[in-house]
């Protein structure tokens, strides 16, 4: 899917020149201490970008009685520019990968109109900024099939951990279901092992920092629990991720993943502790913390075979002790800038898209792909909640999308689609959107 890497080997003559310069600039006595020549380094530069032009027939505020009002508005967005660099020392089986994302074409503080807080203007200093280091890891191959990585990488849950470039999916935007309930895209720090079994099975295991439950809410479930607020990532609660993908069949992969990790000890303050009589003022949490482990399970499918393109995902999540987390979150300081609405015990997200390449039928060469497609997104961030939580239909949404995606040599992309969103009750007005996107992936 990605372009072949641009590989440079530092030539012997280049290295000789460096040595010559070094000799010329060093004092004579140091000549015998000149460092040995550096081993060949491979460099792979890549990146992708996404621009959006959207028309909406509805207002931004979904919290109005009856849902969002009728409106006619447009929005343009330099959605993202991502620069990637891979540097490898093949003879040692080492690789470093880094990926920096510029979101919405800006950096620093931004002013947002936050309708979940009923039309408030929010001055947001975009913690971690709108310039994000999404990947930064060192990888070591251990034999031909096993790779060990340490650093920041994508959490191996769902489809977007693997298919996040605009050429990877057909819609003008990443799927709404997945990006609503879990972080988009979900990167964390930790250790990762990938094992490619020759039969056609790929296993991934990760130990990463867990989420921060102060960001959990009715609207986004655990999606805003991604730690981006502070300079340091809290990792007192770790999470374990396992994923299995069958890649044996050409152009088809499918698999499942599971994520499990606690969330309360990564809160900015130790404010969710067990109450007990035997308190010790010299200990942060003398009787321990309230445990609120998060379990996410998903099954996913990807097809890129012949003229067919398809993706599908079913994701279910369960948060233990969601009520205690919610109760504590309602008392969080304003300054933390979180929603503080109660988080549901369970969430469900499903999406699928199916397209068929018609370029050959209209006389275009293999360099082109023209893929009309349909997509369905369904997400319920309050799926079967506890009895004491109002199951608000506002948090159930179904999005039907039809459109077409054009790609040139799998590098340049232009897409157009129409989507129709319905919330979980007829009392809410449906919302229509037309989007045009363009970008590249290299």
């Amino acid at each position: 899917m990605r372009a072949a890497p641009m590989t440079f080997f530092a030539s012997r003559s280049f290295l000789m020149s460096l040595c010559a310069v070094s000799l010329l600039t060093s004092v004579p006595g140091d000549a015998q201490d000149a460092p040995p020549p550096r081993p060949p380094l491979t460099l792979d530069i890549g990146g992708y970008a996404d621009l959006q032009f959207a028309y909406f027939n509805h207002g931004e505020n979904q919290n109005r009685a009856g849902g969002s009002q009728r409106d006619s508005r447009m929005a343009f967005d330099t959605t993202r520019l991502v620069m990637e660099l891979e540097a490898g020392l093949p003879e040692y089986g080492l690789k470093a990968e880094m990926e920096v994302e510029f979101e919405h074409g800006g950096t620093g503080a931004s002013l947002e109109l936050e309708y979940e807080e009923f039309g408030e203007y929010e001055m947001e200093v975009d913690r971690g900024g709108e310039v994000l280091v999404e990947e930064l890891y060192l990888a070591k191959t251990l034999g031909p099939n096993v790779t060990l990585s340490v650093g920041r990488f994508y959490v191996a849950v769902g489809t977007l951990s693997e298919f996040y470039r605009p050429t990877d999916y057909l819609g003008t935007i990443r799927d709404e279901a997945e990006t609503l309930v879990i972080p988009n895209t979900w990167d964390e720090m930790g250790l990762q092992v990938k094992w490619r079994i020759p039969w056609g099975l790929r296993l991934t295991g990760q130990v990463v920092n867990g989420l921060d439950s102060t960001g959990f809410s009715s609207q986004r479930w655990v999606g805003a629990g991604h730690q981006r607020r502070f300079e340091l990532t809290r990792a007192t609660d770790l999470a374990l991720v396992v994923r299995a993908d069958v890649t044996r069949f050409n152009g088809i992969s499918f698999g499942a993943s599971a994520y499990y990790g606690d969330t309360t000890r990564n809160r900015p303050k130790p404010d969710l502790v067990r109450q007990c009589e035997d308190t010790n003022p010299n200990v942060v949490a003398p009787c321990g913390y309230v445990s609120a482990p998060l379990l996410i399970l998903d099954a996913h499918l990807s097809v890129n075979r012949g003229p067919w393109r398809a993706k599908a995902l079913m994701l279910f999540g369960h948060l233990e002790n969601a009520e205690l987390v919610s109760q504590r979150n309602t008392r969080l300081s304003n300054l933390l800038d979180v929603l503080r609405s109660p988080v549901s015990d369970n969430a469900l997200a499903m999406w699928g898209e199916l397209g068929f390449n018609v370029a050959p039928s209209v006389g275009l060469s293999d360099a082109h792909q023209v893929v009309p497609y349909v997509r369905l997104d369904y997400a319920d961030t309050q799926f079967k909640p506890r009895e004491t939580l109002f199951n608000n239909p506002r948090f159930r949404r179904t999005v039907y999308t039809v459109g077409a995606a054009y790609t040139l040599r799998n590098i340049a992309v232009a897409k157009l689609d129409f989507s129709h969103r319905r919330l979980g009750s007829d009392a809410f007005r449906p919302e229509n959107t037309v989007r045009l996107s363009t970008g590249f992936s290299y």
Partner: protein, 365 residues
């Protein structure tokens, strides 16, 4: 009115902070008062003890009375009980709106403001709760969205649209919902008043934080100026909000749903009480009490040219609001009222500019 104040307050924060920085830059480096300063410690003590605490105490008492009157209405749904419950709601609005000139401290950081006063009411969500059949336990109500509880949801249930509701219109489920909400309101009112006077979760009473402004170890208010800036900033925030939020937003959009207290036709009373809040902070006492220390008016100079101007502009703002016909939700669409609405907006903005350009610099010194 929670939702709009917070935003404007946040927008103004950089202004106030810039002023604070400027003030501290011009003064001595360690936060001590410079020779030019007119501020005394009794400014914050008087403001806290004579304005803030009595207002919140009154709010807590009236929310308790509202809860009791709604319980009585539920037990005996007569017109007299309904009238009493409505009167209790109106009464509770007064101290709340009169507290909006100082929407800082726990009311902001602990989010008591949106918990009490989010609007507009999302009637679709509210109807869904009524239709759900869920048991309205305290925990359930506490977990509801902020626009599904608080003053204005209670208002909608008590008054209906424009006060047309009669006792026979109440379904048992509505009583259940209403009493659950007023119980929650009462709890929030107690918590808000308590946050200023009691230690909670290891946090000292906010009274202590504010009244020790400028004293060693006070990180929240390292100087008296910073506390005085908070006071003037609160005034500027509410003036901005009334003129450019509460009045302008529904008027410009011609949208009654954006009007605060639209069901009880209490909007202009709310706005006027916001002006009274400004007056109370400026004069350093409520209408029925006396100041016990320095006031902002003293800092400005009693009967000085600026003091006369501030008081005249305050009176003009209140007068301009009185000239708008209630219900405000109808007036925003009435051509005959347009001029009066715009005049009130202009009067309040004039007062705001005076506080920004002439009063704030005085406390920055």
């Amino acid at each position: 009115m929670s939702r709009i104040p917070v935003p404007f307050r946040r927008l103004l924060t950089p202004v106030v902070l810039a002023g604070a920085l400027l003030g501290s830059a011009c003064g001595s480096s360690d936060g001590d008062l410079g020779p030019d300063s007119r501020l005394e410690q009794s400014l914050v003590t008087n403001f806290t003890d004579t304005v803030v605490l009595p207002t919140y105490q009154r709010l807590a008492t009236r929310l308790t009375e509202l809860d009791a009157s709604v319980q009585a209405l539920r037990n005996e749904p007569t017109q007299a009980k309904l009238d009493a419950a409505r009167a209790a709601w109106f009464a509770a609005r007064v101290p709340w709106e009169q507290s909006e000139g100082f929407l800082f401290g726990p009311v902001d950081s602990e989010r008591y403001d949106p918990a009490l006063d989010s609007w507009p009411v999302n009637r679709t969500d509210l109807d869904a709760v009524l239709a759900s059949g869920d048991v309205l336990t305290p925990s359930y109500v506490r977990n509801l969205q902020e626009t599904q509880k608080g003053f204005h949801t209670a208002e909608y249930l008590l008054f209906g649209d424009g006060g047309t509701k009669v006792p026979a219109d109440f379904a048992p489920r509505q009583f259940e919902y209403l009493t659950a909400i007023t119980a929650e309101l009462k709890a929030v009112g107690d918590a808000l008043a308590g946050a200023w006077t009691q230690t909670k979760d290891g946090k000292p009473p906010y009274r202590e934080t504010l009244t020790t402004a400028g004293q060693a170890g006070n990180a929240a208010y390292p100087s008296l100026q910073s506390a005085a800036q908070e006071m003037v900033g609160g005034i500027i925030n509410i003036l901005d909000e009334v003129a450019n939020g509460k009045i302008a937003a529904p008027y410009d959009a011609k949208d009654p749903d954006l009007v605060e207290s639209q069901f009880a036709y209490n909007s202009l009373s709310d706005f006027t009480n916001n002006m009274r809040s400004v007056e109370n902070v400026y004069l350093g006492h409520l209408s029925d009490t006396q100041a016990q220390g320095q006031t902002l008016r003293d800092v400005v100079g009693v009967d000085s040219e600026l003091d006369v101007k501030v008081r005249a502009e305050l009176a003009a703002s209140i007068q301009a609001l009185a000239a708008i016909p209630e219900p405000f939700r109808e007036s925003i669409r009435a051509p005959a009222a347009a001029q009066r609405i715009e005049a009130a907006q202009a009067a309040i903005n004039t007062l705001k500019r005076t506080f920004e350009s002439q009063v704030l610099p005085l406390v920055n010194r």
